[in-house]
Amino acid sequence: MIGVDFELTTEHRLIQQTVRDFATREVGPVAAELDRTSRFPRELIARAADLGLMGVMVPEAYGGSGLDTIAYLIAIEEIASACASTAVVISVNNSLICDPLLRHGSEDLKRRYLPGLATGRLLGCYCLTEPQAGSDAANVQTQARREGDHWVLTGTKIFVTNGVEADVCIVYARTDQEPGARGISAFVVEKEWPGVTVGKVEKKLGIRASSTCEIVLEQCRVPADHLLGERARGFRVALSTLDGGRLGIAAQAVGLARAALEISAAYAAQRHQFGRPIAEFQAVQWMLADMATRTDAARLLMHRAAVLRDRGRPYTKEAAMAKLFASETAMWAAHKAVQIHGGYGYIQDYPVERFFRDAKITEIYEGTSEIQRLVIARHVLGMH
């Protein structure tokens, strides 16, 4: 085939239509209330699981939907256009839990956890960040000490999305006293196990319907066969996981940007000042034009990275570009959406106020914009 195909396949279009129906009928109507009350969207997650959204790329043999990355990103974009909180709950479960289990888990771990995670019976969380290990994720201090056929984990993880509700945690800890990335291993830990507790639950600017909390590990005994991937190779697991995760966040950002655009266009058409719709003022048109252009560009970057991923090609740089551009587009578009709404945009009765608060996180988690630029620059300079 010659050239580039920008058309979605029939299946992808039908998936988009189905998830869009779900998002507009079931997610959108409750999003403002979930945000206002900071309530975890339990019922929506159960419905999402029914549709197969909790394990989009998990093979059917493990209870998933067996779809590709494009399908996954289409789904996250649609959900995020209605509720960014619900989107991140789903994205974390897919990208940060199911995906590393699938890629690095033993057959036993896969059989034990994937069917539950993919069908909504279990929820996952990802425990990498620590007080001293944020952007510098290799500075993990949580310790794993070997005791017979167990590892004993002690340390504190912070900012864990889904931490309050999760059943299964992927935890990064230091098994070897090598410096930096080299001594880190990844583990699959059940939250029910002795020694695992939920610490401080954060109050946030946005994505309020998703929980963010500390996960405290105190002498938590983890069977040795719950090591995810090889010993001391955990940082590779973390990085490869984040490549995929960043695409999930890009999709969340594109969904937010698109919603900001659609709502602003509709508002501009009906809001009159100086005797005509504000959509007739060129200043407003230009904002809408730029929002549309950037949103499309972000989606194209994201889909390109997804195609590379599905073809098994390297896509770290492309994922970083997509995440960087999409998240900055979401923030920018939300900013313009509030501007187009004027005073009403600043008021909670209109959804753009929520979009503005929700968009900011996309520039921070799964690698800040600065870290994405650093990743891209290293590729540009051949320093990776």
């Binding site: 039908l14 549709l51 059917e60 939907s65």
Partner: protein
């Protein structure tokens, strides 16, 4: 129970009115370039069929009459929702035929499908709103018929159905085989397909039968009706100012509304 659901493809009724056009020469609705969807109540009929299958097993076949070339993705979703197979009677003129004629062709297709216990249609189509397909089908198939059915319960070789009525409903027992036309109800809101079933739907059988192969209808089921003219109603708005003090204006307004039979 083996169920056949007749699904009609129509121009999306949610489109803005400005998208609705009629070819002056032929009186046919312009469909080209418009998104095509499954007619509203037909989806409710499909949901009823799938619920009956979920509870009692059997097979659900969806049947549509229309130009195969423009059969839309929506039908793939019908298969993804849980229908087992699909029959397309390929008929370029399909969408422009009158209800009786369409029903006669559908009846021929149903006889060719063979076994069935129940045929479901929507209670009316989103474009022509003729409401005749179900009764004519029942006649042609010598089956029982109930129209405007909101709920269906299978009971021991018969069906208990709710038929919508003014200010209430009838409970009707129907013997099989039967043809029911289905109205929307909270119990038959079309389900969303699971994502994996969207992929799997691709592998479900789709049979395409040319309309010419459908044996002619017994008798002349479409006779007696001819569409002479199709018009889009012109809506105009006029603004009238009532003079005087508030009380006088109110009285005048009440009088005007009464004159217009709005009060």
């Amino acid at each position: 129970m083996d169920i056949i659901v007749c699904l009609k493809q129509v121009v999306d009724p949610e489109l803005p009115q400005t998208e609705f056009a009629i070819e002056p020469a032929t009186g046919r609705q312009v469909r080209e370039g418009r998104p095509l969807v499954i007619s509203t109540y037909d989806e409710n009929a499909l949901e009823v069929a799938l619920q009956l299958k979920d509870r009692g097993g059997g097979k659900v076949t969806v049947l549509t009459l229309g130009p195969q070339a423009v059969i839309s993705d929506a039908f793939r979703l019908a298969l993804a929702m849980g229908a087992d197979e699909m029959v397309v009677v390929d008929d370029p003129r399909g969408p422009d035929r009158l209800g009786g004629e369409k029903a006669a062709i559908l009846a021929a297709a149903i006889r060719r499908i063979g076994r069935f216990d129940l045929v479901l249609t929507g209670c009316e189509s989103a474009d022509w709103t003729e409401r005749v397909v179900a009764p004519v089908l029942a006649e042609a198939l010598s089956a029982a018929c109930v129209t405007f059915v909101s709920r269906v319960e299978a009971a021991d070789g018969t069906l208990m159905v709710r038929r919508m009525a003014d200010e209430g409903f009838h409970r009707v027992e129907v013997r099989l085989p039967a043809v029911l036309s289905v109205a929307s109800d909270e119990s038959n809101r079309p389900r969303l397909p699971k994502l994996k079933d969207i992929l799997a739907a691709k592998r479900k059988p789709v049979h395409v039968w040319p309309v010419a192969d459908m044996p002619a209808a017994p008798g002349d089921l479409a006779a007696g009706v001819e569409v002479r003219e199709v018009v889009i109603p012109q809506r105009t708005t006029r603004c009238e100012f009532l003079e005087g003090e508030s009380a006088e204006q109110a009285a005048a307004l009440a009088q005007r509304l009464r004159d217009l039979k709005l009060l």
